[in-house]
Symmetry: C2
Subunit: 198 residues, 2 copies
């Protein structure tokens, strides 16, 4: 294919437009952050990058706590609204019908309507330019019971997760495979359904 | 909804399972990395977290260069394969029919088959446990011309991007809105199609 070269830009996609909760039960705030991801598997570490001018910035900086709530297609309007409006002059919870619920490890609340929330404690703040990166340990994960089967397996594909790519929101679409599918041996001819895959 | 509390885990989703190219034109390597994201908008900064035991780790560490190539649904088999197999004993390029092409700012090649590549120079290596985080500046972006319209606008929704969530690969599905839709004024009644949105 023919390609053009542009200057550097923040163009990784798709990313999760997560709803970050912060503050306290009495004064909770919520904002949308797309600059997030996993930094490390064990111990589990994540980050969110936040502009210092945002209303939530000092709340996170001072408390050292936040919760990452995974976004769903059902929450798309709230995800957009909480990225555009400020808690300084808008009650986003009320306007979007969102509910703050207690987390298990933090003073900071989580978002009741999210199927999976990561409770995070800040370990480092790194100024990078427009944004500061809050590096954090993931202390606990709060999961909707309806997504867990009897064997304890998480079925996150049933959550209806939301993705963000270059200014647009998308549902997740067709499932194309699971990790390792490209090297799994195919079931023997005639082995039929349910045959073991190695 | 009823929720259960688990210990901390690396459970952010969806994330982009990007194809990272590294090495040189003569000895290119390619690996899949899901622990990536944007750290900062201006100047544009990203990261990839890589296990020190991976074949690509010393290549990136010594050259200080890598390219993030966005994954597409058409590349799903290669994305999976390049995350499971090692360049130590497998020619992933040949086996997956992938092509290394020159980048514009680096000695390191990019992936010809990817519609959008970010050329990155490492500024810092941060050991975090299982993974080391390579913090990097995004120096340039190589974009498939077919995704750019006459006005110079990028239509990344036409790229067929791939998402990864908890061990499974997904196409992006239905578009649900664009940034700011939740606060845009609706067109006036009777204004018909094509009326300006503010």
């Amino acid at each position: 294919m023919s390609k053009v070269v542009w200057g550097g830009g923040a163009l990784i996609a798709p990313v999760p437009p997560v709803l970050v909760t912060c503050g306290t039960a009495e004064q909770p705030n919520i904002l949308t952050v797309a600059w997030t991801g996993i930094l490390n598997t064990v111990p589990p570490k994540t980050y969110i990058s936040v502009r210092p001018g945002r209303f939530s910035y000092p709340l996170i900086r001072e408390s050292g706590e936040f919760v990452i709530n995974l976004p769903t297609a059902a929450l798309v309007r709230a995800v957009d609204f909480c990225g555009v409006r400020s808690g300084r002059d808008t009650d986003k919870w009320k306007q979007m019908g969102l509910t703050a619920a207690p987390s298990s490890h933090l003073a900071c609340p989580l978002l009741e309507q999210s199927p999976l929330s990561l409770e995070c404690r800040v370990t480092q703040v790194v100024p990078l330019g427009t944004h500061d990166m809050f590096v954090a340990d993931i202390l606990a994960v709060d999961v909707d019971e309806a997504l867990i089967d009897r064997a304890g397996k998480l079925h996150l594909d049933r959550a209806g997760l939301l993705a963000y790519a270059h200014g647009e929101y998308f549902e997740l679409g067709r499932k194309l495979g699971s990790f390792g599918f490209s090297v799994r041996k195919k079931p023997r001819r005639g082995a039929g359904r349910g045959s073991r895959r190695t």
